[in-house]
Symmetry: C2
Subunit: 236 residues, 2 copies
Amino acid sequence: MINAIKLPQFEVIKQYVRGHIKSGHWPVGTRTPSENELSASFSVSRMTARRALQELAQEGLLTRAPGLGSFVAQPVAAQPTIQLYNIIALAQLEGAYSCQVLDLEQIPADAKLAHLLSFVVDQPVYRGTFVHFDRDKAVQWQEIFVNPVVAPAFLKQKFVKVAPDEYLEWIAPSDQVNSQVSAVLAKPSQRRALGLTEDTQSACLQVTRACKRHSSLVSFSTLVHPANLYQLGATS
Amino acid sequence: MINAIKLPQFEVIKQYVRGHIKSGHWPVGTRTPSENELSASFSVSRMTARRALQELAQEGLLTRAPGLGSFVAQPVAAQPTIQLYNIIALAQLEGAYSCQVLDLEQIPADAKLAHLLSFVVDQPVYRGTFVHFDRDKAVQWQEIFVNPVVAPAFLKQKFVKVAPDEYLEWIAPSDQVNSQVSAVLAKPSQRRALGLTEDTQSACLQVTRACKRHSSLVSFSTLVHPANLYQLGATS
DNA sequence: CAGTGGTCTAGACCACTGG
DNA sequence: CAGTGGTCTAGACCACTGG
């Protein structure tokens, strides 16, 4: 006996259909048996046969159309995606996170910031630069611009164990995050802050990130990671 | 009348539940009305009420457990992901793709390659290096190692308009792709191939990618992009 | 027209949970 | 024990598609 546990009937039908697709017996575009045909051949109610096809459609294996039938779908090219995992969150999980404040100030918005925030030029904006540590290793340099309307107390924070991102997520959880990844050479000030000395180490992964809430900008960050320390992984 | 089109009843219930969750009336952990309660209050069969809760659970808004009920789920932190879009595919769409072969040869597997391929050291492996162009702009340098068992004719290809990845995807579509992104300084040979001159341009995004099919390695690539030309974008 | 999938009903039996 | 969600049935009506 291969499988002693009793499979639900809809699962049996799913495996039947999946088997024909994966084995190549039903190439892309093939019409599968209809709900009625499956319910007849598996001695099952139409609702059960329907559930099988429905779930396979949801998994992307089938395309269904009223009046036409169910068809083997074009497999979508598995587009690899990268999880922009939060390095700081990881370090905090291990209890080894700390943060050093380099700057924390109020500045007048320049043209670019004003545009991002829908502000007027010279309207005050908060700015902070930080170095984040995992134990005694500097893993990330950050420059963040914060909307003072959303986080009026930002400048009064200590930011020792609580990262600025964490603080902002607490008082104004973002519902939209835009990120861009590129490669940069660390600037001298960034190299110093990150403790990079040799030239070969100064290639860095840079993430720029805009966090929005209710369509208005909460913060805009530039995050710089030494390339030799951190990579972004992706599967599938 | 706000909505003239008739909503299915399960959709009405979904919106009712969603509304209570989004408005904060039902905070995380709150038990929602049961299938029976919803079917009574909406004068609907249990299967219809069930469908509403089921779909909300699938969307991640609810957690359900037999014997216990349905509960408002902890919202998962929207983890931003990056689509590792295929630069070459984009260039090809615009009809401006071309490819230059730098090397195309058979080499004996070193220890690392042998390990990746489950080969014996010194077993032959194909290797190619390429520069990919979008119009007359070099956008990507690639080194690829190919499993000769899977793609025996790899070395005989021309690779002018058909990219090596495209060729391999054609003869052996991969079902698993692992990618790693990091930042590197372009090596002199890469700099030359990509036409990079100034030092500030030599920070590059590097993607290493292993494509597998039926659990065995098809190809292993190192892709290098000049950082000033291409960024990876992510939303949500 | 006969057939398709989409929605829906009013039942049923089940394993499971808490009190 | 009464209540929960998971599976399933045998019907129904609908809008839609093709021949």
